[in-house]
Symmetry: C2
Subunit: 199 residues, 2 copies
């Protein structure tokens, strides 16, 4: 069993007045609904304003531009995903063995990325920033701690990067679109890799 | 032992007249020298023209723009790297066991990427194209064939992506710059991973 480690979340919610918080949540919900119904491409400042019944200026004041809005939407769902593996129920959260938590993490990340698939692709950072985004660093820290617990002799930092790369959203998208590889097959490969590593 | 597989190289040299071929080689050599001495940032159309003793128009006619020039320079060295693992001496080339060739491939790729390090970073493709560039596809095919030979029960296609990701030039750069991780440690992690997989 492994203790939950206190980690920085994606980005702390800014300190806002109560009505501003409600306002922000309302806009993010409207944007999330649009993404779910019509894909990330449908998320424009105008469409979100219309869906939330406010003026476009309100959306701009809150998020700056479309990139800011996409990032806020990802942070929002990233935070829930982080809570699930840092403090949620086992086997993903604390209370299960490190091996069980490691096994559960790959499929959970695949499902999370699948649900927000085109949002992630729309917001994919540049090559230079790919490994430096806070969400990636939190995932890496989490997986490295679990790897160190189950494989004390391994280079846990580097092996954690390798494991995360195997379920990277851009790779999974490339495999699905270009080669007809199903999410189930990627998930099976995650377990197959862990089977060999933990044998 | 595993047969060498005929694979498409990075990009076939275009059919050029003899003087055009000499001219192109001269410009690429000048660009490679500039990159070696002063880094990829020093490669401009003007600098290459000056170093090769020709006018800037000659460089433009041959490569289009700076991106075309960087890409041609990478193709040039990529072709030599591909020859080394497809038809070069063992253990990298044919004649060694699949396991020995797989072990040799990681360090060879790391050295190749290290030598052309800032060229790769300057020419890093967009997220959507990252896995679709021909050089990446050739490497993936090669590693997948070797993995299938040594681990017949594994999902060789997916495991090959995972292995390649562990020595990805952008990751290695991030680890070196952000975390002081040496190339030797990345190489040791490649062997450590293979030790576990082939145990």
């Amino acid at each position: 069993m492994i203790e939950s480690t206190p980690l920085p979340l994606a980005e702390p919610e800014k300190h806002l007045r109560a009505d501003a918080v409600r306002n922000r949540a309302l806009l993010l919900e409207a944007a999330a609904r649009l993404a779910e119904e019509r894909g990330a491409a449908a998320i424009t400042m105008e469409a979100v304003a219309a869906a939330a019944g406010v003026g476009k200026g309100t959306v701009s004041r809150r998020f700056g531009d479309r990139n800011g809005l996409l990032q806020a939407l990802l942070d929002h769902s990233e935070r829930r995903f982080q809570e699930s593996f840092l403090s949620g129920p086992p086997p993903l959260g604390p209370g299960a063995t490190a091996a069980a938590r490691l096994r559960a993490f790959g499929p959970a990340l695949l499902r999370h990325e699948h649900a927000h698939h085109d949002l992630y692709l729309a917001a994919e950072p540049s090559a230079a920033r790919r490994f430096a985004v806070p969400a990636r660093q939190v995932r890496h820290r989490h997986v490295a701690v679990l790897v160190a617990a189950v494989l004390p002799d391994a280079d846990a930092e580097l092996l954690a990067h390798t494991l995360l790369s195997s379920v990277d959203v851009v790779l999974v998208d490339h495999l699905a679109r270009g080669h007809g590889v199903s999410p189930a097959r990627v998930e099976a490969a995650w377990h197959g890799l862990l089977d060999r590593l933990l044998a």
